[in-house]
């Protein structure tokens, strides 16, 4: 597992100011096979991280409390999920999987692992 701190100043200086937080979320989500938006203090986020590690996956984790624009992204995620809890939220292959309950449901019904393989996060 590796943590990637946003370095927008390095990547996209032109779009750095005023970019839509939702766009940012989508962009970050598409950059890695498995992306988890999290808060360092959140225990459920810890659980979902442990789940993927247990599967042998190396997810990209963005700790929104350590991101200068984290607050906006949290709000955007809340709206996306229709939930008061923004995190944890998981993207696989750039596609939204959902919060913890959706992740677990997809693991139980056997759809999670194929998705991971498809995204290249898991190899046989």
């Amino acid at each position: 597992m590796h943590y990637q701190v946003d370095s927008w100043g390095y990547y996209m200086p032109a779009r750095s100011m005023g970019s839509d937080p939702m766009e940012r979320v989508a962009k970050l989500a598409s950059e890695s096979a498995v992306v988890i938006f999290s808060l360092s203090s959140c225990c459920m986020c810890h659980a979902v991280k442990r789940l993927f590690c247990g599967l042998g996956v190396n997810p990209t984790v963005y700790e929104l409390d350590q991101d200068p624009r984290g607050k906006d992204m949290e709000t955007a995620l809340m709206r996306l999920l229709g939930n008061s809890q923004a995190v944890p939220v998981v993207f696989i292959g750039g596609k939204l999987i959902g919060a913890m309950d959706r992740v677990m449901a997809s693991h139980i019904n056997g759809t999670l692992v194929p998705l991971l393989k498809e995204a290249g996060a898991l190899w046989l």
Partner: protein, 455 residues
């Protein structure tokens, strides 16, 4: 001396007034009118019959069966007297709970004796109205003609003896009744205490039991109703299987059963919000179920392990599916457990850590962290629900019906085990009430037999 009216009684005498009076008459030798009282205090009559309730001030209730009060100068005890007809039955009303009837100070006894004797002297009744008046006469007569007793006196004495005897028997019966009620009460209190401490849901009085919150009480009631529904669904499954229904018909029954489970998970969501500790401590379940408790309910991977051996025959694909389900369930359980451990560490840090800068602030933070428990119980229930759904997808409809029946029966047996455990006979501290204990145990075992009747 003033004798309180409450001390007056006549034939309702368990204190042997019949004998007393007889003694008085027989000792009439030395009794003189103006000293009527004195010898009464020194009859030397053994207070054997008075020993029954020596330390109790006796009070009397006049029963409605007629009490004629004829006061008047029939008494020389100098107090207002209730005269009671001989037909009236008076009940002795002990003021203190039955205690061991052994020792009393001797002077107390004598005082009782005095009181009783004094009231005896002032006792009057329809047929005995004359007796008091007669008494001085009799005493006088007795003093003159020693031991000369007429037939009337003899008959009256006999009657008194008889009445006294009856009264003693009545009192004995009453006392025995009180004793057994006391034992029963102690038993009930013990059972209640035991049930409470073991978290039994006493149907119908959930709100009044212990320190249960209203959210918890409501859930307990709903869960209890759900269990009744569960029984019903299970018999439907059973009949459906035995009747060899078509797959589509059986599917309806199975789907209904799954919805039945969905319902309890919905109820648990509400309960987790209201009182997460009630769920997470397992106080809503029975003791035996609590042994296996994981995050407020059953552990899905353990349930699958229990089912695997009984689900034969399975196709290879089904076997793989079941093992895969067990595996993913274990992984999910592990993740949630680690998340919960993280929560515990975080909570410890908040409460225990270093110098207390702001106690209230720390507490506020801790409460915020504690609130996360609800999320974990919800995710655990979500996992349980998903596991049951996946099971029904992997299995054929008949297999699923058998599977759910097995699950229902398994938990039914666990609950029965809990019942038997709580009502098992124990030696410990209940030595003198052991026999009563056994009776209760037997009574408690009876209802739980129902659990086995279906297997």
């Amino acid at each position: 001396m003033n004798v309180p009216t409450g001390f007056i009684h006549q034939e309702g005498s368990a204190f042997g007034f019949g004998e007393l009076e007889e003694a008085i008459v027989l000792q009439g030798l030395n009794i003189r009118n103006d000293e009527a009282k004195a010898p009464l205090f020194t009859t030397g009559r053994p207070a054997a019959t008075l020993e029954m309730f020596p330390s109790w001030p006796m009070r009397f209730k006049q029963t409605p069966r007629g009490s004629s009060k004829s006061g008047g100068g029939s008494t020389d005890s100098g107090s207002a007297v209730n005269t009671i007809s001989s037909k009236t039955e008076n009940q002795l009303e002990p003021e203190s709970p039955i205690s061991s009837k052994n020792t009393t100070p001797l002077d107390h006894q004598q005082q009782k004796q005095q009181e009783m004797m004094a009231s005896d002297v002032s006792r009057t009744g329809a047929s005995q109205n004359q007796s008091i008046a007669k008494l001085p006469q009799e005493k006088r007569r007795g003093s003159t003609s020693e031991k000369q007793l007429d037939a009337k006196t003899l008959r009256r004495l006999a009657q008194n003896r008889e009445a006294a005897r009856k009264s003693r028997l009545r009192k004995k019966a009453y006392v025995q009744q009180l004793e057994s009620s006391r034992i029963k009460l102690t038993q009930l209190e013990q059972d209640l205490q035991r049930s409470r401490s073991q978290g039994f849901f006493l149907g119908g009085c959930a709100g009044a039991v212990g320190n249960i919150s209203s959210g918890a009480a409501i859930f307990d009631m709903e869960y209890s109703r759900w269990l009744e529904d569960d029984q019903r669904h299970m018999s439907e499954l059973r009949t459906g299987l035995n009747a060899h229904l078509s797959d589509s018909d059986l599917r309806i029954i199975v789907d209904t059963y799954i919805s039945h489970y969905d319902e309890i998970f919905r109820l648990k969501v509400v309960a987790a919000k209201a009182d997460v500790f009630h769920l997470i401590t397992g106080m809503w379940t029975t003791p035996a179920e609590r042994c296996f408790l994981w995050m407020g309910g059953f552990r899905p991977s353990e349930l699958i392990k229990m089912l695997i051996s009984q689900l034969d025959p399975l196709t290879e694909q089904q076997v793989m599916g079941i093992y895969s389900l067990q595996h993913s369930s274990q992984q999910a359980e592990e993740a949630l457990t680690q998340g919960l451990e993280q929560l515990q560490r975080s909570l410890t840090d908040t409460i225990a850590g270093g110098p207390v800068i702001d106690g209230m602030q720390q507490m506020a933070i801790a409460i915020g962290k504690l609130a996360n428990l609800e999320g974990f119980v919800r995710q655990a229930d979500n996992l349980r629900q998903q596991t049951l759904h996946q099971l029904s997808r992997i299995l054929t409809v008949r297999q699923a019906a058998r599977c759910f029946l097995m699950i229902g029966e398994y938990y039914g047996r666990l609950r029965a085990l809990s019942s038997l455990w709580t009502s098992r006979p124990r030696e410990s501290m209940m030595s003198d009430e052991h026999s009563c204990q056994t009776t209760t145990d037997l009574q408690m075992v009876q209802p739980s037999q129902n659990h086995f009747s279906e297997f």
